[in-house]
């Protein structure tokens, strides 16, 4: 992989050659992964453990007539078969979702999507559990389904959620933001207006490890230990306490090593609840692990936004306003994981990186007979959809104005002196310096040379495209007063203990799924305390061992938990000053800090290292009033604002004119995530996100037939990219620290997933310009590209 180390000084670290906390060190967690010593959910085996399997609905919409479990119960290895009726008796048939809706744990009245949970078998082994599913006899009365979101609000559309009293249609919400009248006025006066329907199809996070749980309920002391594939162990524990009535101090949620999350493992799935019920019913631990088809067909999807976009500009190319109307398909239950005041997530960042005079959007959410979920898949709460929309619209505008798309963007960026920048939908962009990032990407790409090559190729009838995208994210939710999930403020805690010998342990509330937390957070402490990262252990993923916090998603670990960790380390450092003063018989105000050591001003030979101070704290030195005998601290960090990472991406594609097959030839990604901690981890995140982007742009879609059968229920049908489809990534960076974050970091987890699909699609549309193509929807499969070339592009099925 090529990395351009651009002349980017790191003001936060104060030294351009050394990023925060020892920079590019190898990941502390990798030795166990590369040696096969990780401990994933399915590796957990408890004494006497049973296995659960879920019977799923074969149809999308049907009234449940009857369930006969007699034969399954007669299976010699089956211990229990649980149905919706059993759960009703426990008041657990329905569970609250993360979006103020309810979701059936097991069907009681009606099946609402294909793959919905109908019954749960608990057996001696996983084979018997699966076999017994075939012995359950279910009778369904099939109903017409609602599959196309565009039809969901038709007057004659079947009402999917007749379980909700008084509901007469499939509308979930109408939500709007921005000034409609002001926007209309700007549009009416504009020289140029272009509009386009832009569809972001339903896709799936498809983590390598599917979801699962091991529930262990101890009937003697009423304690539940629940191992789960979760990105948010603390939030889950609180919700179980609220819903299941088990006191919170009796619940321990453990999230072991996680094989990828991407948002898929934020919510609480029926399978988790069923494992708990199974353990309560049988008195033994119960493991439930879904298979690949179950994961693809029933767990949190992402996107599924049908967006009508409009953009207004002067004829000279000054962008004035963006307006959009969105139809959002939320599936059968509104189980979207997002802050409760934001029914469309952070979609309102669709104003992009441009200084607009006006902006307005309205979003209508609807129910359909498809799997619930949403806002999964590395999207920063719908930032992905927002960025895709605005970056497609800017490209379409560039074509209309016959301007170069990079030049049009450069002309309209928010200027560095405008930050903090208040956009037209209520966000305060913390910091940004867009033009240097754009220029760097163009320089790395050899932009002008590429355009010349494209011209030559076009004359020969060869199709080459160059796509540009520039994105601004809003991540790191967020300030408690604005952001909560089911009432829990989106803050995160950190606890730091320095042991007597100067080694430390930091306990954090977020959970890693591959992001490298065990390394990154150790590096932050290392930076602040001046002890090496290998002397610091990071503990996470166990509610009994870590402070409360909302978990890892929406690129929030470094912006929120990273802030908590920096602050807790500073708190320890400050405490260390008082202890050092006592040890040195000096006044605290006479001490000065250099990395790892407090010393007497003017007498650098007299000082104490963190290790010496730790021993002193636990030793016999007389401590000053108010300082207790340890070197520990804890904080909960409530960020004052979100962070706004940005980046400039350029993609080069070649399209086979005879077959429509697309080859991504080059991809240049310049990211600015503020202060950089471990560049290797950052690059890894970017590589992964770019690969995601290639998947979504070229091949990924969860498709349905008209009866609601999921056509993408295996990796033979739901395609994810391989090394063969991606180029040698060319990454670069600029550094614009966040002014409010303790170390200036902004988060990088989702930048590339957000920024890459528009760059790729823009490149493909650019390649197809000789055919008059101005837009096509993802996925850009050979067939769909060919259809666009024939002048009849289709929205995705």
């Amino acid at each position: 992989m090529t990395t351009t180390q651009e002349h980017a000084p790191n003001p936060a670290a104060g030294d351009p050659s050394r990023p925060i906390g020892y920079g590019r060190i190898q990941r502390k967690e990798d030795p166990r992964f590369v040696r096969g010593k990780g401990n994933y959910l399915d590796d957990i085996v408890l004494p006497g453990m049973l296995h659960g399997a879920v019977l799923r609905a074969p149809v999308a919409h049907a009234r449940l007539v009857s369930i006969d479990t007699t034969e399954a119960l007669a299976h010699p290895k089956v211990l229990a078969v649980i149905t919706g009726k059993d759960l009703q008796a426990l008041n657990l048939a329905w569970a609250p979702t993360l979006s103020a809706d309810v979701q059936a744990v097991l069907v009681t009245d009606k099946v609402r999507f294909q793959g919905q949970e109908v019954a749960f078998v608990v057996a001696e082994d996983r084979y018997a559990a699966r076999d017994a599913l075939e012995l359950i006899d279910v009778e369904y009365d099939v109903l017409p389904p609602v599959i196309d979101a565009r039809r969901a609000l038709d007057p004659d559309a079947p009402v999917i959620r007749d379980d909700i009293e008084g509901r007469t249609d499939n509308r979930i919400f109408d939500w709007e933001i921005g000034d409609a009248a002001e926007t209309e006025a700007v549009f009416a006066a504009a020289d140029v207006v272009v509009s386009q329907e832009v569809v972001y199809p339903r896709v799936h996070p498809a983590p390598m490890e599917t979801c699962g749980a091991v529930a262990d309920f101890d009937p003697v002391d009423g304690r539940l230990t629940l191992y789960e594939t979760t990105q948010a162990p603390h939030a889950h524990r609180t919700l179980y306490a609220m819903v299941a009535g088990i006191p919170e101090h009796k619940i321990r949620v453990v999230s072991p090593d996680i094989g990828g999350g991407f948002g898929n493992k934020v919510g609480i799935y029926p399978g988790y609840v069923l494992a708990v019920v199974g353990s309560i019913v049988t008195g033994r631990p119960v493991k439930w692990v879904e298979d690949r088809s179950e994961n693809l067909m029933s767990t949190s999807f992402a996107r599924d936004y049908i967006m009508q976009g409009e953009i207004a500009a002067t004829k000279e190319g000054r962008i004035l306003a963006v307006r959009t109307s969105v139809l959002a398909d939320h599936g059968a239950f509104n189980a979207t994981a997002q802050p409760s005041k934001n029914p469309a997530g952070f979609f309102s960042i669709f104003t992009g990186s441009y200084d607009l005079k006006a902006a307005y959007c309205k979003v209508t959410g609807v129910y359909t007979n498809k799997a619930p979920g949403g806002v999964a898949y590395a999207c920063s709460f719908r930032v992905t959809e927002a960025v895709y929309l605005v970056e497609r619209m800017v490209d379409i505008l560039a074509r209309k104005l016959e301007m170069d798309p990079a030049e049009l963007r450069l002309k309209n960026f928010i200027k560095p002196e405008q930050f903090p920048y208040a956009n037209k939908t209520g966000w305060i962009y913390d910091s940004g310096n867009y033009e240097p990032a754009m220029r760097l990407s163009m320089q790395m790409a050899g932009y002008d040379e590429l355009r010349r090559e494209q011209l030559e190729k076009r004359e020969r009838g060869e199709l080459m495209g160059i796509g540009v995208s520039f994105f601004t994210e809003t991540v790191g939710a967020g300030p408690r007063k604005h952001f909560d999930i089911v009432g829990l403020g989106m803050a995160d805690g950190a606890e730091l203990r320095v042991h007597p010998t100067g080694k430390a342990v930091v306990r954090i509330s977020v959970q890693t799924q591959g992001q490298g937390h065990e390394t990154t957070f150790a590096q932050i402490v290392a930076e602040e305390l001046g002890i090496p990262p290998e002397s610091i252990d990071v503990v996470h993923g166990d509610t009994d061992q870590t402070p409360f916090g909302l978990g890892t998603y929406g690129s929030r670990s470094t912006p929120v938990s990273g802030g908590a960790v920096a602050l807790v380390a500073r708190k320890v450092r400050e405490k260390a000053k008082f202890i050092a003063a006592a040890m040195l018989e000096a006044r605290p105000e006479d001490l000065e800090w250099e990395k790892g050591r407090w010393f007497v001003k003017g007498d650098p030979g007299v000082g104490k290292t963190i290790a010496e101070i730790a021993l002193g704290a636990h030793g016999t030195v007389a401590l000053p009033e108010g300082i207790d005998g340890n070197l520990d601290a804890e904080v909960t960090y409530d960020p004052p604002n979100l962070t706004f990472p940005f980046g400039a991406y350029i993609c080069v594609v070649d399209v086979d004119a005879g077959t429509g097959a697309v080859k991504v030839r080059r991809f240049i990604a310049v990211d600015d995530c503020g202060t950089r901690i471990n560049p290797m981890i950052i690059e890894g995140q970017v590589h992964g996100g770019l690969t995601d982007g290639v998947g979504m742009a070229l091949m990924e879609i969860i498709a349905f037939d008209e009866d609601g059968n999921c056509l993408s229920g295996s990796f033979m049908d739901y395609l994810i990219p391989t090394a063969m489809e991606v180029p040698d990534w060319e990454t670069g960076y600029t550094v614009t620290p966040s002014p409010h974050h303790p170390i200036g970091a902004k988060g990088i987890g989702e930048s590339a997933t957000v920024g890459s699909p528009p760059a790729i699609v823009n490149a493909i549309v650019d390649a197809l310009a000789p055919y008059g193509v101005t837009h096509m929807d993802m996925p850009c499969t050979p067939a769909r590209v060919w259809e666009a070339m024939q002048g009849r592009p289709r929205p995705p099925v």
Partner: protein, 292 residues
């Protein structure tokens, strides 16, 4: 983890033993070689044999031999071995073309030519390749050995001439002088089944005209080859206009169905486009081929 229904398993020691086991366990037994088609189907419970007869120890079925005007390939020959064989690449470049786009290296290391042909998936690349090369299949059963042409071998999707108590033993390809062949596939992603693929083989006369030709299509709803297009090619000088004409006939002869990989008109277009490409390449290769 996808979990298949319960099954029993036996490991055959040689061909005779494999045939005896098939006889003993009857219609609910299936032969397993590379397992890359059968195992996924079992995990999805689309296939549920009672018995698996594992033939991976039958090294006598793993060979690539050139004998006279025949290239003999054992049924247990792995895709990787075919891809790496210089004999195969030199004599039948269509096989190398196809093997390069069959699945991925992990699958190619396990999957076998016999398994591919016996699975008889309509999107199976090697079925088209064998059709186009007019190969013959050697089948062994309780009553001995028989040799069938590919047109007799194929009985429709997932069906072949190999009876339940028989074993595909080898595939025979006839080596013809002044011949060339080629294969090209469009797929949505490496490792995906073909959207459509085309294969062609031509033999030129001493005067450079087409003596014999064969065109096949994968995943396009075509049984066997396209005799009408082949008739058009025969006796004529290879030329772009000729390829266009033959490809048009091939595209008209196929009967693709719409699915997630594409609509019918696109697939028909691909049949046309890819046929032109493989004819072009096959003829160029034939012109460059050495005598015999």
């Amino acid at each position: 983890m996808q979990i298949p229904a319960a099954f029993d398993y036996e490991r055959a020691s040689d061909v005779a033993n494999a045939l005896a086991l098939l006889e003993r366990h009857g219609p609910e037994s299936r032969v397993i070689a590379g397992g890359h088609s059968l195992l996924p189907m079992m995990k999805l419970r689309l296939a549920r044999p009672d018995w698996l007869i594992d033939i991976n120890d039958l090294t006598e079925l793993d060979f690539i031999l050139r004998e006279g005007d025949q290239l003999r390939v054992g049924a247990l020959t792995r895709h990787t071995a075919l891809l790496e064989s210089t004999d195969v690449a030199g004599l039948f470049p269509i096989i190398s073309d196809a093997e390069r786009v069959i699945a991925d290296p992990v699958v190619r290391n396990r999957g076998t030519i016999g398994g591919s042909l016996c699975q008889a998936d309509p999107a199976e690349d090697l079925s088209t390749v064998c059709d186009v090369l007019r190969a013959h299949a050697v089948i062994r059963g309780p009553s001995g050995e028989r040799i069938v042409s590919m047109s007799d071998f194929h009985r429709g999707p997932y069906e072949t001439a190999v009876a339940q108590n028989e074993l595909l033993y080898e595939i025979r390809f006839t080596i013809r002088p002044r011949s060339g062949s080629a294969y090209e596939k469009v797929e949505r992603r490496v490792g995906d089944w073909a959207v459509v693929a085309a294969g062609a083989a031509v033999t030129l006369s001493a005067d450079g005209t087409v003596e014999e030709a064969a065109i096949g299509l994968t995943a396009a709803g075509l049984d066997g080859t396209v005799p009408e297009a082949e008739a058009v090619l025969r006796g004529r000088q290879p030329h772009e206009d000729l390829f266009v004409e033959a490809a048009r006939i091939a595209a008209a002869a196929c009967d693709p169905v719409a699915d997630q990989r594409g609509p019918v008109d696109y697939k028909r277009h691909l049949a046309d486009e890819l046929t032109r490409r493989v004819l072009r390449r096959a003829c160029a290769r034939a012109a460059g081929a050495q005598e015999g």
